[in-house]
Structure formats: C-alpha cells, structure tokens
C-alpha cells in the first residue's frame, strides 16, 4: 500500500489524477528563492518560458540574465557570479546544459567549487515528439560522475519545487532534472523531502522485490506495485529523489528483506540511477538486479505514452522485470 506516513496523493490511482510538469516546480521554487534570498540570480539561454525561468525573470529582472543561445557562456557567467557570492541558477534543456557545456561546467563550476545550480529540462523520453535530439537520456550519468556533486531527480511538480528550494542551501553545484510533459502529482505539500534521503512510497512487510524508481517513472512503478499486489506479489517501491549523494544506508536497509532489485528510470540504463544502486550493492551485498530504462538505444518521436510502451519502461514492463528478478534469486 501507499506509505500512510508520507501524506501522498490519495487520488493517485484515480483516472482524473492531477497532472503537472515537474518544470512548473522549478519555476515556482525559483521565485520563492528569489523572494527569500537576494543573492539568488538566474540565467537562461533563449528558453526562458520553456524552462519556466520567466516567472523569476518577470519578478526580478535585475537578477535575471538572458544569454541567448550560448550554453557555454551561460555556465561561465554563472560561475563568475557564484565566485562573487551569488547563488546562480542556469536553465536550459538538459541535452545542452549540462550536455553541450559539460566541460565548462566541469572546470568553472564543479572543480572550481562555484555555487552553480544546473536546471536540466526536457529530460528523458518524456520530451516526446521533439525526438531523440532533445530527449536527454545521459544527463544523470554525466553529472553523477563529478566529485562532490549533488544530483536530484524529483518525482513530481511538488517535489520539484522542494528540491529546487533545497538546492540553494547546498554549498556545491547541484544538478536537478526536470521533465517537459505533465505527469501525475504523487506527493502533497505535507510530504517530507530531505536531500540525500530515499523514501518508501509503497510499503510491504515482506517484500519479494524492492523497486527503486526516480523521477516521474515512480508513478509507473507504483502502478506496477499496486497491480502486483493483486497478483499476490508484494514489493516495496522506493523514491530515489537524490541520486548523489546516494542514501547508502537506506538502500541497504530497503533490500535486506527482498534480496532482489528492479531499478526504474527514464534514462539510459548505462550510468544512471540503476548503475549507482548496482555499484553500491556490488560493493556490499551483491543481489540480482533488473534495469528498466533505455537499453543501448536512443528513442524517437512519439507521445510519452507510446514511447514508454515501445521502449519497455511502462508498468507492464516493470511487472515483468519484477517477475524476472524473482526467478534469479
């Protein structure tokens, strides 16, 4: 069942569940930060409205910088602002930032320990009809390999707002991953959020499998868990909203009973959240793992629903992965 202690959305499994893009949480969180902290500044690269940075730009024009279509320059300017005491948020599509400007960020923000927050939008195949050029499916891999980095993937618009706000209190660069399309709102204002802590969203006393999910894919994992319960297969579903630093203790505890894992993410399976979990378990308690995500392929144009089906990432695929991993125990 849904964890009763987390005040999750009771209407989550209803037909008319509220849907919102996680980028909306970035827009409102950034404005809230702007009100609270005069040192917060924002930069955008010709995608101000699409990334929802326009709300900040309208409210705090003197603290907003339009850089045009130049993500490398945006990263460097943000580093300069951060070197001078500002908390600098840069926003673009994740394929461009932290994609195109990866080395600039590596040198001027990450190695340089400058307080730059990277908001990567249009992540995953959820970007849909724009096609694979605009679907960032490697961004977790290329940011979580950076030393001391923080990487957050919020599961819905509410958690996205909380993650955005929390990132400003972290004194290192943070990468936060947002999605374009509307996805179900899983949490409520009352759901606790803490950087570096995973949470059980679906609980069972005697789980056969632990499903670790990140981002909006958590919804598909929860639907799978509910359907598996009807098939008398009890599982736990864990929301891994912080991929770095990974909640190592929490993850080990979550797998103690189940001894089998399925990871679920809208990202290449190489180097993503599933890889992070696998690295940890390989070092501690090796367990069978099945990875849901893009399998050595780019996706294509299509609706998000069509794409998660075609690329084996929907609830049906998750349920099959659960059954596969149970056979491997």
């Amino acid at each position: 069942m849904l964890n009763p202690n987390l005040k999750l959305n009771e209407k989550l499994f209803d037909e008319d569940v509220v849907v919102e893009p996680t980028r909306a949480g970035f827009g409102s969180g950034l404005v809230e930060l702007g009100e609270k902290n005069p040192n917060v500044v924002a930069l955008a690269a010709d995608l101000t409205e699409s990334t929802q940075a326009h709300k900040f730009a309208e409210k705090f024009p003197e603290r907003f910088f339009q850089v045009g279509i130049g993500e490398q320059n945006m990263a460097a300017i943000a580093a300069g602002l951060a070197e001078s005491g500002k908390v600098a948020f840069i926003s673009s599509y994740a394929t461009f930032s932290p994609g195109k400007n990866w080395e600039t960020l590596r040198t001027t923000a990450v190695y340089n320990e400058a307080n730059v927050k990277i908001a990567g939008h249009h992540s995953g195949i959820m970007t849909g009809p724009d096609g694979a050029t605009h679907q960032a499916t490697e961004d977790i891999a290329i940011t979580r390999c950076w030393p001391k980095m923080h990487v957050y993937v919020p599961c819905d618009s509410i958690e996205a707002r909380k993650a955005t706000i929390a990132s400003a209190d972290i004194n290192t660069p943070v990468y936060i991953r947002y999605t374009r399309d509307k996805t179900p709102v899983i949490t409520t204002e009352g759901t606790p959020f803490k950087v570096g802590k995973m949470q059980f969203f679906w609980v069972n006393e005697n789980p056969k499998v632990t499903i670790f999910a990140t981002g909006y894919m958590l919804y598909y994992a929860l639907v799978a868990a509910k359907e598996l319960e009807e098939e008398k297969i009890p599982v736990n579903v864990v929301n891994v909203a912080t991929i770095k630093p990974l909640d190592e203790e929490g993850i080990l505890e979550a797998t103690r009973v189940s001894q089998a894992v399925v990871t679920v993410e809208d990202h290449q399976v190489d180097g993503g959240m599933g890889s992070a979990i696998a690295e940890l378990l390989a070092k501690t308690t090796p367990l069978p793992i099945e990875f849901i995500g893009l399998q050595n392929t780019f996706a294509e144009s299509g609706t998000p629903k069509e794409l998660v089906e075609k690329y084996g990432m929907d609830s049906k695929a998750i349920k099959e992965a659960v059954k596969r991993v149970m056979r491997r125990k």
């Binding site: 603290r63 045009g68 300017i77 943000a78 580093a79 602002l81 600098a88 001027t108």
Partner: protein
C-alpha cells in the same frame, strides 16, 4: 584613474619584470614541464598589473573591493604565480613547488588551492564568461572594482569566446577590460596559419567593443592604455597587447615550439645568463 607612473617607479617595474622572467625560467626548470613562451611574453603586463594597476591587498586576497584579474589562458600561470609571489601573496620559495605533488601551484590554476587566483582555468575560452559574471556581480552589489581578463590570441579560436564577447557588447559591460596576449603563436604554429584572427580589431568592434592596442613590453604605454580604457564607459574595452613570445630569451623569442615546453638545464642556464646580463649589456655575476 591610476596613479602616475614616475620615472623611478617605471625603472623599478622594469627591474621587477626582469626578475620575474628569471623566476619563470627557474620555476619551469624545477618543474620539468610547463609553458615557457607565454609566461615570458606576459611578464611586463603582469608586473604592470600587480605593481601598479590592480587595487589589491596580498595580505587580504579575498578583500571584497579588490580589482579582479582573471587569467583565461591558464597555461601561462607560471608568470601569474611569480608576480603573486613577488607581490607577497606567498613566499618566493614556494615557486619551487610548481606542478609538484601537494603544491598549491597546480599545473593550471585552481582557485580553491591558492587564495588570489579568482578562477580555475586552463580549458580555453572560459575566462571571459567568468569575468563577465564577476563584473555583473559588481553592479548588483554596487561595488566599484574593475574586472580584468587576460586571454591568449590562439584562444580566440574557441567559439565560446565569441558567445561571451557578444554578451558583453550587448550589455555594454563597462567595468570589464579584456587584454588579448597577441603573440601570434599557438601550439601548432603561427595563429595566422592555423586559424587567421585578423582583422582582429574589426571583429571586436563589430561585436560592440572599444578596441585599444598596446606594446606588451612597454610598461608605461600599457599602463597609459589601461588608463584610457577606464575612460571608456559606454562599452566594454579590449586591449590588444602585442607581445613577443619568449621575450627576453633570444632563442625562445617568436618560436612557437616554446609554447608548451620548459627549458632543460643547459637551456635554462643559457636563458638565465642572458636575462641576468640584460642581453649582454651587463656582465653576469652568476657565470
């Protein structure tokens, strides 16, 4: 307005620049790797910055109102380290640790390793964007400091440079002064053979910048040019500083092969002899 540069002080600066060149050669010899031509070529400019132009306090490197000097072409950092040591940021003795394990003097500058560096640099084209960010922060915080950024000329091949140049031109950032080390060489050869930059002045003007030029080895002229740049407040200013790579060491001058390598012991001795005799004008006491 910078303080007047009287004859006595100018002579003092010229001596400091000469000493800086010696320290560059001895640091590179000790390190066993690193770049020779660029640091020697920028010795006069760095001396002018650290001993006349910059409003700074070596004992308080994080002073909020200090002028910022951003080095974009981080590979010429030996001259920056030398100037900083001469100015009192750290002991001259520490120059011997350049590029060695546990040193604050990383092969390319790392901001958090050594107070006073302002940025981490080495990968090219990233200094001017950071300098813009620092200059924007000055405006937001209503501070009066200047932000100077030194770039190489080969570095101007990088596309991100022009993203930044475009931004500064559009936003008329007037508390930012860029200095291009126009030494005409890059690793693979002469800039005009590898990827022509000329007409460089026209390029910057087309992007909305005010362009000044100076001899990078005439400290008086360079200081005067920076003074002139301070008087331009309707747009950003770039000073194209014409320098001789390897300046002061005859066999290194104007030779791109010295871009990325240090002298060996014999070459260093020859270089130091030449520097210490001011090109044979005085007798060396070190022979």
């Amino acid at each position: 307005m910078l303080a007047d540069l009287y004859e006595d002080k100018l002579k003092d600066l010229e001596k400091k620049a000469e000493e800086a060149r010696e320290l560059v050669i001895s640091s590179l010899l000790e390190a066993g790797s690193g770049h020779s031509a660029g640091p020697l070529g920028m010795a006069d400019v760095f001396t002018a910055f650290y001993f006349h132009i910059l409003n700074h306090d070596p004992k308080n490197p994080n002073w909020e109102d200090r002028d910022r000097l951003v080095l974009s072409n981080g590979h010429i950092c030996p001259i920056r380290y030398v100037s900083m040591a001469q100015a009192g940021y750290f002991p001259i003795e520490e120059l011997k640790t350049l590029r060695k394990l546990n040193s604050r003097l990383q092969g390319h500058p790392h901001r958090t390793a050594l107070p006073g560096l302002e940025t981490t640099s080495g990968p090219l084209g990233e200094g001017i964007g950071q300098a813009i960010g620092i200059a924007l922060a000055a405006d937001l915080d209503k501070r009066k400091y200047y932000t100077y950024v030194i770039t190489g000329d080969g570095e101007l091949d990088e596309g991100n440079i022009w993203e930044s140049v475009m931004f500064a031109g559009k936003n008329k950032i007037n508390n930012l002064i860029m200095v291009v080390d126009r030494n005409n060489i890059q690793i693979d050869g002469f800039t005009e053979d590898i990827m022509p930059l000329e007409p460089l002045k026209d390029k910057f003007e087309a992007f909305g910048w005010h362009v000044l030029e100076s001899d990078a080895h005439n400290i008086k002229q360079f200081v005067d040019t920076v003074n002139e740049a301070h008087a331009i407040y309707e747009k950003p200013t770039v000073i194209i500083a014409h320098s001789i790579p390897g300046k002061g060491v005859d066999f290194m001058e104007k030779d791109f092969h010295w871009h990325g390598k240090p002298p060996n012991a014999d070459e260093a001795k020859k270089a130091l002899d030449e520097l210490r005799t001011l090109g044979g004008k005085i007798e060396s006491e070190h022979k």
